[in-house]
Amino acid sequence: MRALKLQGRTVAMIAIIVPLVLVFAYVAMRSGPLAPVKVTVVRAQEGTVSPALFGIGTVEARHTHRIGPTLAGRVKRVDVHVGDRVRAGQLIGEMDAVDLSDRVRAQEATLKRAQAGIREAEARQAFAQAQARRYDKLSALQATSEELAITRRQEREIAEAGLIAAREALAGAQSERAALVAQLDNLKLVAPVDGVVTLREAEPGTTVVAGQAVVELIDPASLWINLRLDQVNAGGLASDLSADIVLRSRSAETLPGRVLRVEPKADAVTEELLAKVVFEHPPEPIPPIGELAEVTVALPLVQAAVVIPNAALRREAGEVGVWQVKEGRLQFAPLKLGATDLDGRVQVREGLTEGDEIVLYSERALSRDSRIDVVPSLPGAER
């Protein structure tokens, strides 16, 4: 009876102590720095890489017409408002002429005076010619003195010169007037192309300097995107590649586009390449100038290559490569890499063959001597 009781106690004691010791042993072995590193592995596969470039840019107009006066002056009226469509040749505003029309009127008076001057000179010339002709006849009949005849001839010459001067005076006055009228015309602000008004910078009464714009026009058909790409991630960028454009305000919609040209000048400060991307079909409604756009430029496919995910890439002793799993041991394989795509697939040129098992994800940084525990997915990482 007593022995049984003692045994009961012993069993209870063992029931507590043994699991405790087992748990302790598990804890000592499986946690802390001695524990194996949990990793997931993946096999290098033959596949295609569809490289693409990603950049952002702003919507810009290829041609922006900044219309303003050629001389300093005051704005008289502006007929258009922002958003109005205008046609080539349409009057969109006018500068104040100040005294220009008065000067045109004065010039018209001068013109009439010059016309009167011609009539006067013609009358003089006709009279002088008639006199000269008469004295020539009289002189031939010896009915007058030679001297008088010569005087009449000289008077005719003078009257002819006077007529020429009067005619030139008229031409001068006409040109002067034409110049003033041209100046008056120049005060009119005329649309050079069909377009949309994007800015109305000065209101009537404002004084503007020469060259300052009053109205800005763009041609909506000439919208393009000024694309900026990181120089390191711009390999393969060329004209005529197709591009997908996503405007910030229409992020659900992908618009087809095309690289029009790669700018010969890159931005040295921001270390970006610049390119112009045009829309295949002008978007409707017109996106605002300056709106941000995300552009993905598709590059030619790379066929049949050994492909690995970029999450597997590590750096060890100055070389880029992957941890290869060979018979449960780790071995670092330095790689030569080729094309990459935006989904994180990387083409391997050298260093791996199809079917090689490599470490994809790991809980910690690995080293040659790390013990690993291959699991289907790392704790916390599964969705």
């Binding site: 003692l6 106690r9 012993t10 209870a12 004691m13 507590i16 102590i17 405790l20 010791v21 748990v23 302790f24 804890v27 000592a28 946690s31 802390g32 720095p33 001695l34 990603f54 950049g55 952002i56 300097v209 060259g211 300052q212 714009a213 790409l229 990181d230 390191v232 991630n233 400060v269 921001t270 995300e294 995910p309 970029n310 999450a311 890439l313 590590r314 750096r315 002793a317 100055g318 880029v320 490569g321 890499l337 990459t340 795509d341 935006l342 989904d343 994180g344 990387v346 994800y361 790991s362 809980e363 910690r364 940084a365 690995l366 997915s377 790392l378 916390g380 990482a381 599964e382 969705r383």
Partner: protein, 401 residues
């Protein structure tokens, strides 16, 4: 010879085991406290390891980029690449902020990493636990798993939305905030960009300034405004060295020719451990000492009480002529057994509770061994008091009182 100690323990085993478990929890807390301290130091080291740099080039006369703010021009790295011994140099920015996802936000350190390929540029997360590395130059993020974000989540940092494409682990700032990696250009903007209201206000201020808004110079105002909204600065340049070059030599040449402050790995560790977490570490250390003293006192008290409970039995033992050595051995063995149970329970409790702490708790085997030794010494010392008391007991008490 029968073991008096095991007989006695078996006699009152329930009480003994539960006392041991109680003691174990106390030891567990002490171990966790040591783990918290180790975790803080490890956070700092993880930060340095993960950056993958040999040298940190920062603004002159600052302790940047972790302990103080620092800003250098983002084209400084070009000059550094020309120096002998420099293999790679990459810009990096650090900004601790609240990262929003929907309605919730998470305190995180946003790291701006230079564009390139994984493995080629220092500063990138060296390993992932899910997803992929950043491939686009904008609007993608790799987050530490401790942020609670999942792949595909959309984060808001300032005015931009970022898609989480990859998850990593143990990428923390020196204060334990998880990191969120985003492309450098976005990070530069995030660091500098004000909210839209502030931008409008600053534009109005500039417009009101007659020196900057001159009617005779059209275009000046636009140029001034444009220059106000760019950020050509980064917080540091991470430099890695070609094999065979000593960090100090290269650091000296950068200091001398580039007129910048440079820290080597050893100096950076000094700054992080010695300066940044010095006060918190002392705080934790103080707690650790107090906990150890309290644990020792409790162990001593428990053993004393256990002995006092069976003072009558000890008197009987003495009466029947048991040797002092046997009685002392019984008490000592019990104390050590109690310590063992306590330690085992404590270690298990500490290990299983460590992942639930909001900050990283690192249980180092050396700490565990030191803890084991300390528990044993404390138990032996505590039992000495009880042994002394037991040996002094009068055998007459067994029949008297």
């Amino acid at each position: 010879m029968i073991s008096l100690a095991s007989r006695d323990i078996l006699h009152g085993w329930g009480k003994f085991v539960f006392t041991g478990i109680g003691l174990g929890l106390l030891i567990g807390v002490t171990l966790v406290m040591a783990g918290v301290y180790r975790g803080m130091v490890d956070d700092g080291k993880a930060l340095l390891d993960n950056s993958g740099a040999d040298l940190w080039v920062v603004q002159r006369d600052t302790l940047g980029p972790y302990a103080e703010s620092s800003s250098v021009h983002d084209d400084t790295y070009r000059g550094l690449l020309g120096l002998r011994g420099v293999e790679r140099a990459a810009n990096i920015t650090y900004l601790t902020m609240q990262v929003r996802k929907g309605t919730q936000d998470v305190r995180a350190m946003v790291v701006g990493i230079t564009a390139g390929q994984p493995g080629q540029v220092p500063g990138w997360p060296p390993y992932l636990v899910a997803g992929r590395q950043i491939t686009r130059g904008h609007y993608e993020a790799v987050a530490d798993i401790a942020t609670g974000f999942r792949i595909g989540d959309r984060l808001s940092i300032r005015r931009n939305q970022y898609t989480v494409v990859g998850l990593t682990r143990r990428m923390v700032s020196s204060s334990g905030d998880p990191m969120v990696f985003i492309p450098l250009k976005d990070a530069q903007e995030a660091q500098f960009l004000k909210d839209n209201d502030a931008i409008w206000q600053s534009r109005r201020r500039t417009e009101a300034n007659p020196a900057l808004n001159r009617p005779g110079v059209p275009g000046l105002l636009d140029a001034v405004l444009a220059s106000q909204s760019t950020n050509p600065y980064v917080n540091a340049v991470l430099v890695t060295l070609e094999p065979g070059y000593a960090p100090d030599e290269v650091a000296d040449s950068i200091r001398r020719w580039q007129r910048l402050t440079v820290y080597t790995r050893a100096q950076m560790e000094d700054i992080l451990v010695g300066k940044l977490i010095a006060t918190s570490a002392r705080q934790i250390g103080m707690f650790l000492v107090i906990l150890a003293v309290v644990s020792a006192a409790i162990v001593a008290f428990i053993i004393y009480t256990l002995t006092m409970d069976k003072i009558r039995e000890i008197a009987v033992l003495k009466l029947i002529g048991t040797r002092n050595r046997t009685i002392a051995g019984m008490i000592l063995q019990q104390a050590v057994a109690l310590g063992l149970i306590g330690f085992v329970v404590g270690k298990i409790a500490a290990t299983f509770s460590a992942p639930f702490f909001p900050k990283y708790v690192l249980l180092v085997p050396a700490d565990t061994i030191a803890g084991f030794a300390a528990v044993m010494i404390i138990c032996v010392l505590a039992s000495l008091v009880s042994i002394r008391l037991a040996l002094r007991v009068d055998p007459a008490e067994a029949i008297g009182g």
